[in-house]
Structure formats: structure tokens, C-alpha cells
């Protein structure tokens, strides 16, 4: 019996491996226009470059800008993306682009004099299997680009939550958590959490089944004792309840001030003591 079982298993494995061969070779059909094939991804990126960086040359970003994101995201509405800038040349600003999203430019962040511009982390929505591109501008005006492919789908039309009214109840509330010890003059990090549904106008209300009006964060300004840490422009590709982790250099005890404006022209203004904030 053991022998026979073994033969059966071997036969089954052979059939299974045959079944898992790409069926294109058997059916004779061809793949065209898929967002997940290399050629169409390259075409898409070319079109995006022309739209976002017209007339500019992008250099290979290896060593200047890196992307870390989960290759297969558990929740497409909430994909954490970490950008790091390991190069010697200071990075002045960075664009995060989600190639397949209908509104592909997720964020443009400009670092100020109080920034420690070596990393930046945020959560974004992803609508399809897509390349993420990060383009960093260095102080000498050059642009460097890097990419990572991730698998996640449905983040743009996924309902934001069970109830629009509840999602807006404490809109604009913020928390700031300091990461690492405070030493005057030494860089440290902070994680900013903003309560905001960031409705992109594509989500559907769970009860009425109608599209929820768009209401999203347009800008976030972070300053330390009046000096800019970063300025962020974004629209509908940031996740709801955005979380942004950034680096800054506090010269002495002071305050981080966060001013956020959204598409309904609401302004949310909060100050956090350093050291002290939420630690």
C-alpha cells in the first residue's frame, strides 16, 4: 500500500507541476497591456516622468534614495513606505509616485533647515500592482530616481470605514511621538499621526452606497521653533489617518508645530514640546 501511495503521489506531483506551467504557452494567447509586465510599466513611468518632471533628466538613484515597502501589502489602503537618503549630498526634496494610481503623485516633500533629511516614512493607498518611484532632488539641483514593485490592489476604492460621520468626528486631532533620546544639536525622529479620513471621492458610504465627497489633506507644514522641518504637498493617495515619520535636529528644548490644511480649507494647528511630546 505504501508503495502504491508513493506512486500515486509522484503521479499527482507530475500532473500538478504540469498544471502550474504558464498557460500562455498552451493556449497560444498573448499578454498585452498588463500593468504587471515590464514593458507597460516602463511605458507608464515614461508618461509619468513627462507629466511630473517635464524636460528633466532623472539619474539612477542608487546610493541617493532608497525605498522600503512590503512587496505584498496586507492592506492596500495602508501601505507603509519608508524612504531613506544615504548619500553624502543633502536631499532637498522628494517626490513619491505610485505609478498605477489615477492620481499618481502621492506626495512631494521639501525639507527645511531644521530637518534631518536622511529618512521619511508615510502610509499610502495603492490601487493596483504597481511600481513605486521615489525621486530625490539634491542641493545641486540633480534628480535621482529609484523604484520598487509592490503587489496590493483596491486601496483607492476600498471603503474608509463604517461611518463617514464618525470618521470626521475628531478630524484634525494629532499625536506626535518622539523616537530616540533628546540631545540638543543631535538628530532625532518623530512620528506624527493625524486623524483625517482623507476621503478620496472614490470610496463608497457603507450605508447610503453613495460616493463620499472627497476631503483630503493638501499640505502639512512641520516647523521647529519657527524653522522649517518639512513642507508636504499631497492629495488623495495618502492613507486615511496619515502617519508620517520624519527626522529633525532640535538645537535646544523647543516646540514642533504642525499646521495641516485640507481640501475643505480647514486648518489644524498643533504644538508639541520637545522633549516631552507624547513620550
Amino acid at each position: 500500500m505504501g508503495m502504491r501511495k508513493g506512486v500515486w503521489l509522484a503521479a499527482a506531483l507530475m500532473v500538478l507541476s504540469a498544471a502550474s506551467l504558464p498557460s500562455a504557452s498552451r493556449s497560444g494567447t498573448q499578454t498585452t497591456g498588463n500593468s504587471d509586465d515590464d514593458a507597460s510599466r516602463a511605458t507608464r513611468w515614461k508618461a509619468l516622468q513627462q507629466a511630473i518632471f517635464p524636460g528633466k533628466t532623472l539619474q539612477d538613484g542608487g546610493g541617493v534614495v532608497q525605498i522600503d515597502a512590503p512587496p505584498r501589502a496586507l492592506d492596500a489602503a495602508l501601505v507603509p513606505v519608508r524612504l531613506s537618503f544615504p548619500g553624502k549630498e543633502a536631499v532637498r526634496s522628494v517626490w513619491l509616485i505610485i505609478d498605477q494610481n489615477p492620481s499618481p503623485l502621492a506626495a512631494h516633500v521639501t525639507f527645511g533647515p531644521r530637518a534631518d533629511a536622511r529618512m521619511l516614512e508615510m502610509r499610502v493607498r495603492v490601487d493596483a500592482y504597481t511600481d513605486l518611484h521615489a525621486v530625490a532632488a539634491t542641493a545641486d539641483g540633480k534628480l535621482y530616481s529609484t523604484a520598487q514593485f509592490i503587489k496590493a490592489a483596491g486601496g483607492c476604492s476600498a471603503p474608509a470605514g463604517p461611518d463617514d460621520a464618525a470618521a470626521l468626528q475628531d478630524v484634525g486631532t494629532m499625536k506626535l511621538r518622539l523616537i530616540g533620546p533628546f540631545t540638543p544639536g543631535r538628530p532625532m525622529q518623530a512620528r506624527l499621526m493625524i486623524r483625517h479620513p482623507n476621503f478620496n471621492g472614490m470610496q463608497m458610504n457603507q450605508i447610503t452606497r453613495l460616493y463620499t465627497s472627497a476631503r483630503f489633506i493638501r499640505t502639512i507644514d512641520a516647523t521647529y521653533d519657527g524653522g522649517s522641518v518639512f513642507h508636504l504637498d499631497s492629495d488623495i493617495s495618502l492613507s486615511s489617518d496619515p502617519v508620517i515619520t520624519f527626522g529633525f535636529v532640535p538645537q535646544r528644548k523647543g516646540q514642533i508645530r504642525i499646521v495641516t490644511r485640507d481640501s475643505s480649507n480647514a486648518t489644524f494647528d498643533h504644538r508639541f514640546d520637545v522633549p516631552g511630546a507624547g513620550t
Binding site: 500515486w8 498557460s23 500562455a24 457603507q206
Partner: protein, 210 residues
């Protein structure tokens, strides 16, 4: 499988013990093969999800049931066979991206071309849990035109994997009176995973104000 329905169990025939053992092994292997051929791992419908009594009004992107009362559930191989044979009406009910008015005028808005099954008709919103009257009328009228009023014509409804819109839209077609409705739950992801050809589709919608 929906609540209150007992699974059908074939009666075990009276056979000798060794033959029975051999059959069990064969059965297990056959079941394994069938499962593997039906859908690639990770795409299979969740057997633990029951069919709702009406249209699904919960999270659109969540696990879907393995069944559709009054219709059939088909997978990629069967779908591609139907497409190749011709005659079936293929309907894509994926959501179409909408540009929010609030977006800055200079913000790039570049929705990607929508890849679909060649020959499919794209009717966004046909699978909403609660459908606006104008859209319901439009969906019904489009199906009537496409099928030339033949309720026995084969319909294949799909959107994305792990998406309820196509389940709802297929159920809706069954309630319109169509008798040969197939739901393809693996959707465009399952189609592309098999390396099958796609075609760019344009959304069809009722005229504003209608």
C-alpha cells in the same frame, strides 16, 4: 453553500476493503488535482463565506462566497473557453476611477487604461449593493440589448478577485430573469495570472440626468 442547505453526499457503494482504500487514495488525489486546476492557490473563494440573503452591502473588497444561487461559478479556464467560443456576453463591473473636483487643477490625473477581457462590456456600478435607479435601468437595458432579449443567453460577470461587485451584479442579472449567468470570481487578476490577452475597455454609463 448557504445556510439551511445540506451538502449532497453520494452514497458509498458496497465494495471490498482494499478496493475502498485504493479508491480513497484516488479520491484524495483527484480532489487535490481538481482544486489545483480550478484556481491557483490564494485565489480560491472562501468556502466559509455564506451567501447573503440579498445584495452584499458590506466591504466590497473582502472574501466572497464559493457559490451563487441561481447561477454558476466558473473559473479562468472555463471563462477563457467561453470567450474563445464566442456568443457569451462578458460584463466587467469594476469601479471606474473618478477625479475628485477638489483635486488641484495642476495635479496629475492619469488613470491607467482599464484592461479587461477582450470583447467585454464595462458597466461600473452595476454591482453596487444599493444601486441608483438610473444605473439599474441602464444595466438592465444594456443586458437586454446585448442579449437581444434572449434570457437564455450566456452571461459572464466579473470584476476583481476578492471583490463583491461581480457577485452582486451576477445576482442582479439573475433577478432580471437571465437563466444562464456565470460569475467569474477570480476576475481580471485570475485572467492575467494565466497570461491571457486583455483589451483596454471604456466605461459605459447612463447619460447624466437620465
Amino acid at each position: 453553500m448557504y445556510p439551511g442547505q445540506e451538502p449532497e453526499r453520494p452514497r458509498r457503494p458496497a465494495v471490498s476493503r482494499p478496493a475502498l482504500a485504493a479508491m480513497r487514495v484516488f479520491g484524495a488525489v483527484a480532489a487535490l488535482l481538481l482544486a489545483a486546476l480550478a484556481a491557483p492557490a490564494g485565489m480560491r473563494a472562501d468556502a466559509s463565506v455564506a451567501e447573503p440573503a440579498g445584495y452584499w452591502t458590506g466591504d466590497i473588497n473582502s472574501p466572497t462566497p464559493a457559490t451563487l444561487q441561481g447561477g454558476q461559478v466558473i473559473h479562468t479556464t472555463q471563462t477563457s473557453r467561453l470567450v474563445k467560443a464566442g456568443g457569451a456576453i462578458i460584463v466587467d463591473v469594476s469601479t471606474a476611477p473618478r477625479r475628485p473636483q477638489e483635486l488641484a487643477p495642476n495635479a496629475p490625473w492619469l488613470p491607467v487604461p482599464h484592461p479587461g477581457i477582450p470583447g467585454a462590456v464595462w458597466i461600473p456600478g452595476a454591482g453596487l449593493g444599493v444601486i441608483p435607479a438610473a444605473l439599474n435601468d441602464f444595466y438592465r437595458a444594456r443586458l437586454a440589448t446585448l442579449t437581444e432579449g434572449d434570457f437564455s443567453r450566456a452571461l459572464v460577470i466579473y470584476c476583481h478577485q476578492r471583490c463583491w461587485l461581480s457577485w452582486n451584479a451576477a445576482r442582479r442579472a439573475i433577478h432580471y430573469g437571465y437563466r444562464n449567468v456565470s460569475w467569474f470570481p477570480e476576475g481580471i487578476e485570475g485572467w492575467k495570472a494565466k497570461g491571457l490577452q486583455t483589451q483596454t475597455l471604456e466605461p459605459q454609463a447612463p447619460r447624466p440626468g437620465s
